[in-house]
Subunit: 379 residues, 4 copies
């Protein structure tokens, strides 16, 4: 029996919201799609609501449930702790899991402050376990292709980056307050959306050296709840723009806004080098737009469709044009994580890298506050 000879990997998942279910789906998808070198076991599911924990465990195929997340962490069947709870809880949960010597797969953002992030990074280093933070957009095969092209020099020397992550879910002045409006919960357009783009920029182009930025709270108060007359003061940013200088010499612009009408998931960027330009928009995640210099009279931006030449795509679709969805990016993230757990590399954002993303966001926040250029050594 094939299954018998493989080591078990027990997953413990904390949280049963949308993101909890997305993790459950991702584990199922990864297990069914890839010939994994382990027996992936859905060992335990935790939710503070014991009935919900039990119900979801039953429907999602977990072996048991816990109402106390600390029990899940100490459950001997759990090797990997997946954290999908509100941002405030990432720190205590991840710290406890690291303390217990377990691998951690934490949803983004790593923490609600740079101080926490630094502690988590230090703890992970000390624990010597595999860690991952859920910047799943990087696992898109088209992002993989973009990175490949950049690394292979197909665009030449990289000289510019323009990136923007815009959505419009807070675009209406009457969109109510939520935890996303609280800095203490890692709220605001920069932290909530922008950090995805910063992670992506670093993934593709490496370190940023200096930033200048401008942040604005456009709607200084919002209803306490949809339709409520009670108003709450809002202190976080609705939009943040920045100039970036990369260590590789590239220059460019950054934007994040949750007020930009018409955009739903517009994590987009354009990267230009001495030989070509590529651009990407998360709203069409199965496409890359590429221009390569040197075909006079037959030149033009072309649309590359995701296809099985990209291994991550081939795992799910046998032919180009069939398209991956959001949830499959998550499954690809799980697959990379499992490779890391097996000591076979495995792309992805570990706590060290996630801490760097927090540091970069902090530099942007500082530059905006003090209206000056900030170099990364300042943070």
């Amino acid at each position: 029996m094939r299954g018998n000879s493989l080591p078990d990997l027990g997953v413990g998942l904390i949280g049963t919201g949308f993101m909890g279910r997305a993790h459950a789906l991702a584990f199922h998808n990864a297990r069914t799609t890839f010939e994994l070198p382990i027996n992936l076991k859905l060992a335990a599911l935790a939710d503070a609501d014991a009935a919900r924990a039990q119900d979801c465990a039953s429907r999602w195929g977990f072996e048991r449930s816990h109402a106390d997340w600390q029990q899940l962490i100490s459950d001997p069947a759990v090797d990997l702790v997946a954290i999908t709870t509100p941002n405030l809880l990432h720190f205590p949960m991840a710290m406890a899991a690291l303390e217990a010597g377990k691998a951690v797969y934490c949803e983004k953002p790593l923490a609600v402050s740079l101080g926490q992030a630094r502690q988590m990074h230090a703890a992970a280093r000390k624990a010597g376990v595999v860690t991952r933070v859920g910047y799943n957009y990087q696992h898109n095969p088209m992002i993989g292709l973009a990175r490949e092209m950049i690394e292979a020099g197909e665009l030449g020397r990289i000289i510019s980056f323009q990136g923007e992550f815009s959505e419009d879910f807070m675009g209406d002045a009457l969109s109510p307050w939520s935890w996303r409006c609280e800095e203490a919960h890692a709220g605001g357009a920069l932290a909530d959306l922008g950090s995805h783009l910063l992670a992506m920029a670093r993934y593709l182009l490496g370190d940023v050296e200096a930033v200048c930025a401008d942040s604005q709270t456009v709607h200084p108060q919002r209803p306490a709840a949809r339709g409520s007359n009670e108003q709450r003061a809002i202190n976080i940013d609705d939009q943040t723009y920045a100039l970036l200088r990369f260590a590789n010499g590239a220059r460019g612009t950054f934007g994040s806004s949750w007020l930009k009408h018409g955009y739903k998931n517009h994590l987009s960027f354009e990267i230009s080098g001495t030989l070509g330009t590529l651009s990407f928009d998360q709203e069409r995640l199965n496409e890359l737009r590429l221009y390569r210099a040197g075909a006079p009279g037959r030149d033009g931006f072309q649309r590359i469709l995701a296809g099985p030449q990209q291994p991550g795509y081939a795992a799910f679709c046998p032919a180009p044009g069939h398209q991956l969805g959001y949830n499959e990016l998550k499954a690809l993230e799980v697959h990379e994580l499992i490779q890391a757990l097996q000591g076979n590399g495995g792309n992805g954002t570990d706590f060290a890298e996630a801490m760097e993303v927090e540091r970069l966001a902090t530099a942007i926040r500082l530059a905006a506050k003090e209206m000056r250029w900030v170099t990364m050594t300042d943070v």
Copy 2:
């Protein structure tokens, strides 16, 4: 325990190729995503290769495996037989399953001839069980939205349909012969690609009354295998075009080609009515393009992104712009099938409808062969 009070539904899956795995994924996804009114059990998996059957069963989460599909059909734990084998086997397997009084979920096409399709339809009727054929593109929430808009009269009276399903995987004259090149296996561009579009046209606009068509074998021979010097004569169509007259009065054009360079999954259509136009392209399956008359100076085609207003989308993604992929359309198909099994309606193509699709394709084939208009009563 919630699970205990629900009836079991045992799935038996035949086939472990790409489509077999796609079914396995779909059942997992449906079970994890939806609060199903049943206990969906992956009861049995069959493949003629016993070791492969066992290995896949283990990895995909099936309770047991069979090397003989007939055993799977007679397995008392199996309530629903899913057939993902080569086209030639659809007929005997589905007939056996119907004979055994089991529900059948068969991949498209229903059969390799209209005669078979008619027999299968008759057998299904007699058996009185739920049947489904895997025209999964219809389960795309954007197709659901299109149908809603058409039915609600948002486009007015429908007057035209232009549809085309083009790919390019046989575009190279050296693309080798495969079973897709054999009429006896339901090969050819019309049967392989065009039938999806015909199913879609019927799903959205209803019956076609008359057709005229033109079919062509552009490459009359192909290598027996990639790189082989041996040539095989090719008799099926590389491209077929048609004029369609719908019972609702709409007129239009139809195309299917597997030679059209640049297209990978270009199942596309444009439907126009007295009040507006909508169009769709499967290569961007999360979008619909809509024009509505009556906004002078502010009019223009708009791009509607899939979002949680469509229930099928909301099941997988909490916000617009996140996108579904091919595999989730399959999970939505499974969900509809389960609703049908519960007697709660459930969209999808049953054997009766799939037989109509075969009949329409047959009419087009006849019109092309005899170079004349064919009315559906001729077939």
Copy 3:
């Protein structure tokens, strides 16, 4: 003095409507832009309204005006007669001009019946003068590029054509009757719009051998005038679709509709060959979309922008991306006409070719009427 050594070419323009002014603009633009081998003189302008003729002549830079078009034709300063009057008048005016031995530049369509077109063609042949019909869209440099690519074999052997000319100006059931609704005036979607596409198809791919077609009058009556209660019966086609077989072996579809909401000038086509695909949409006339087989993993449709590599573009814009407009296509047509008058070739549709376009439209009309395939030898 440069001017003195060049022969004069006197233009006589009949008609002062939009198309008359477009011709006046085109002559000015051609004269200013190109170093013409002649002195292009705007000799005379005719309009039945003498005051208007005089006023427009003054504003548009014509040397004199006539209220009687026959006087313009016999004016000895006029070498070339440009006809921009209603379709019904094309025949008598062109015949008179040919009788007088003058070159003729007639707006499309050549005539209101195939019989007239044949007579005009015969008269032109007998007169031995240069003739042109205003199918100005062919003079678009991007169409020139498309033709070049096809002729050079860049797309390989051509196998398919999909073309459609759709607009929506009659899309509203209350859009009133006009001369365009009268067959005797060459009205109907096929004659008014479709003939442009047929001319284009022939320009790019050559002769059509056989057609099958379907025509429909969707709105069988329309108000006599905007807002009027009086209804007029409508007999011409609102939409016509066809299957085409080209002499070069290509097959495809054709559509013309003036009911298709959202389209304003959608003369569009897609041409596919054994090595690639190109497509064009007149609503973005400065672009061509191209796919070339053979760049695995970096393949995709690309957007080629018009640029100075195309001579007709370079004449008006020094750099790519600046864009030509409708009126410049007309100036390019005039430039080609002048080359023809100088015996230097000169692209464009002469009366012989325009008669072939009428013949093809007539074949489509016949095929639709008799619901059968029609070969060109039938017409």
Copy 4:
């Protein structure tokens, strides 16, 4: 005779390069298209090469030619002096024309330094004549529509601006030195391209209050001429990025680059307000992209095509979808200028406004040099 009763307006044009010819075309086009309230006379053309001046005058329809631009300015038949010479000459020519009390229509940029621009503005004020600078992209009817929508509040309160003008004509490291590489000639990506975008931003959103910026010379030396081995040191910017704070409260980003492969005339912007978003790309100048909040389930960016609802478009094309080209924007600029000369308003950039554009570019340059935020009161 209509013409007799209208006052004459004599145009004197300096320069016979591409831009000179573009002006000649624009005057012809404006005269033929609009019913002007004056007799527009092409009085004189000047070029230092007397033979060329004469030849062009003859071909372009000017009454006489001058080899000395000062003679043209003092020619009593000249009421309006149009300057299309190299940037360095704008100052002396415009100053002389103003001194002579003539209206001036100067190509952009106004001058090669802010000091010059200030002097020219002062001189224009003193002379009390009409002045215009050729920022012709503003005269695009789609830009007019954008401005209308913004002013009417259709987008709500404006909160963000993202603008970029990118081309790639210097993208190749071997693209040779030219005057555009000299600061003394108003070279560099910011001055050459960026100033168009700054003019556009001011046209649409008004004053900018503060800027922060980053400029870079990516290729510090270039061949002295195409293919030459001689290298010249380059000091101007290849790319400049900035953050902008508008007086109306909007925030955003700005970019200009002549290194960005794939872009040919990508003057583009996106403006977002509390009720919607619009965007524009000069590479598709007949289109505007608009999103308006408030149509749940039917929302999405729409593409608005230029059409005759915009008066400037209607002047040239009778129906939407026919498209204006670059040269017609110039004719529309001339038309507005003539309205200004008649005291009837007339959109466009006068010397006062063009000086503000120079001032803004200077602020960006200063911010980049000193790596700090610069408020407009600093400049």
